[in-house]
Subunit: 234 residues, 2 copies
């Protein structure tokens, strides 16, 4: 099987992306980052998902984005709740995060001799982050082909973004047909005791996605969740 690096956050999108890489015949080498998140639920979820999928290798890379400050996900700023959608970049944006993640993936791909890197970015329900846009991914791919031996040796490295044009509901529907167990995933920016808050941007997008897809979200939300009609109570 052809090796591919798959960025696996432990969330819904990256878990679906891992299933797509397998469907497309790749041996998925999973890479997760522990980057000073205020919670480690994501890393724990990624370990469960990688084990469940039987990946050939799963690496957890420690990186410290806290030295830069600047984001609610890595500092002590409050995670915004029940934010209405607008075009501004939210405070939960981590500076250059996907660029750093893809750079590590590129390094691993080069060592593995892999020509494919999968990332579950999404330009539809994407919270307004600049590094989720198709033009960004295309520019990264072009740079990556100049950065490495691959470019010199005439191989082409591809950054694959199978979710980029899908809505959250479409992602959930596709993953369900591929047998993804969404009970293993976590999305909340501000979980408490393993329970999703139901109010941060990530919870709101996820809940709306399951609702639109007409499917039940198998994870647990706090009693105060606004969409309790489609979530299983604790």
């Amino acid at each position: 099987m052809t090796p591919a690096v798959v960025l696996l956050s432990g969330g819904l999108d990256s878990t679906t992306t891992l299933a797509i890489a397998r469907r497309d015949g790749f041996a998925p080498y999973a890479m997760t980052f522990r980057y000073g998140q205020r919670h480690t639920e994501e890393v724990d979820a990624a370990r469960r998902i990688a084990a469940d999928a039987g990946v050939p290798q799963h690496v957890v890379v420690d990186i410290d984005l806290r030295v830069f400050g600047g984001s609610a996900l890595t500092t002590e700023l409050a995670v915004p709740k029940d934010r209405s959608a607008d075009d501004s970049v939210p405070i939960t944006y981590v500076p250059a995060r996907n660029t750093i993640f893809l750079s590590y993936a590129l390094a691993w791909a080069e060592v593995l001799g892999a020509s494919d890197v999968f990332i579950g970015v999404n330009a539809v329900d994407y919270s307004g982050y600049p590094d989720c846009r198709p033009e960004y991914i295309a520019a990264f791919e072009r740079m990556a082909n100049l950065a490495t031996r691959a470019g010199i040796e005439g191989r082409t490295l591809s950054i694959r973004t199978p979710l980029i044009e899908l809505s959250k509901a479409e992602i959930i529907q596709l993953g369900t047909t591929l047998g993804v167990d969404y009970s293993l995933t976590t999305s909340c920016y501000d979980p408490s005791g393993g329970v999703a808050c139901g109010h941060c941007d990530a919870c709101l997008l996820r809940l709306k996605g399951f609702e639109t897809a007409g499917l039940l979200d198998p994870i647990v939300y706090a009693e105060t969740g606004t969409r309790s009609a489609v979530s299983r109570k604790p």
Copy 2:
């Protein structure tokens, strides 16, 4: 003063680049990586250089490239000695290293509100690394402007490479006119007890540079150094 992020390895090129950033009126925020090198002389040198230059801030970022294997600089493979120049990528190449370094610099620039990142890459005496070429830097810059708030907000982020077209001798001559103290710098891939080996690619390039510039290299080389005529003996 305008802030700029300057990648500072502790070597000759990055130290000269720091001096150029100051000459050009920037307040240089220095960033150094501890990345599983087999020696920490580089990080110690970077600390001395940053202190000597009185930079507004110096961060040392821990990253672990060892998880990927694949290079003499981060694993237990032997550093090649007295290699003759050819076009192949040497074993000392660290996969995607400059891409990872620039990605962190991009994150810090965004937090600082800086629009300039300096890196001392060199396309002339560059050891054959793919990520030192001008076309690579141009592609990274283009990607960076799509990756961050800067691009969305209409600012332009510049990756500045003031050394890229200079020979090693020209770099040393320029740095000397700017008052760079090269005794603070370290270049060797395989130092022993603070003494440069004199035989690895980095030592050979450095020694040839000082020789061509007609200047004395103030650092100490092992007695067995091939160019002892231009180096101070221990």
